[in-house]
Amino acid sequence: MKLLIAFALALTLGACSSLGTVISTVGAATTVLGQVQKYYGHAPKTVFAARAGFDIALTAAAHFKQDVCPTVTSQPFCKTVVPILRTGAAKTVAALDIAETFVRTHPTLDATAAIDAAEAAVTAFAKTETDNGVPAK
């Protein structure tokens, strides 16, 4: 519960960001999704966008670690949560690397399996974040 309160406070403080900037960024992200859906089946861009999704989730995790857990004892959960995030990130990078290598080496072959595995890894990483209290939304 303390963790949730801490994040609620963090989100409240974060609300000071420029609304215009926020709106333009959401617009950019939405454009990305729309364009990727349009190109779904176009393997290189799909993997590129999936990797970008991971990178943004990774950004949240990295700054959670930097801001909330600068030391092992900053919060009671830092010692356990940060290693979980590190492990999850490493596994996701490995899956994305496989998918990327496949689509860049065989751009005309069916990459569905590699893409699905990469997207599943990204989804799992995002779930790891939310399960461990990294602000999800």
């Binding site: 963090a10 989100l11 403080l13 974060g14 609300a15 000071c16 960001s17 900037t21 333009s24 960024t25 959401v26 992200a29 939405t30 454009t31 990305v32 999704l33 364009q35 990727v36 859906q37 779904y40 290189p44 861009k45 799909t46 590129f48 966008a49 999936a50 990797r51 970008a52 999704g53 991971f54 990178d55 943004i56 989730a57 990774l58 950004t59 949240a60 995790a61 990295a62 700054h63 801001d67 600068p70 030391t71 092992v72 900053s74 995030l85 590190r86 990078v93 860049r104 751009p107 990469a118 997207e119 599943a120 890894a121 990204v122 989804t123 995002a126 990294v134 602000p135 999800a136 939304k137």
Partner: protein, 68 residues
Amino acid sequence: MSGLQDFITAAEAVIADGFQTYTEAKAYIDFVTGVVNAATDPTDADWAKQHAYEQGELDILNAPMGGE
């Protein structure tokens, strides 16, 4: 498409979190948008730029915490 939807969810989280390097994340999102909107496949330079951004965030996450 769930992984791609996560891009939006995660991008919104980045915005909501309001952390100091937000401008860096914003620039990255703009970069990705440009690549996806392009008529051609991502270039080697695009992949390299993506890897560089990713590595920067991994370095932050993997840097030892104080006392670790």
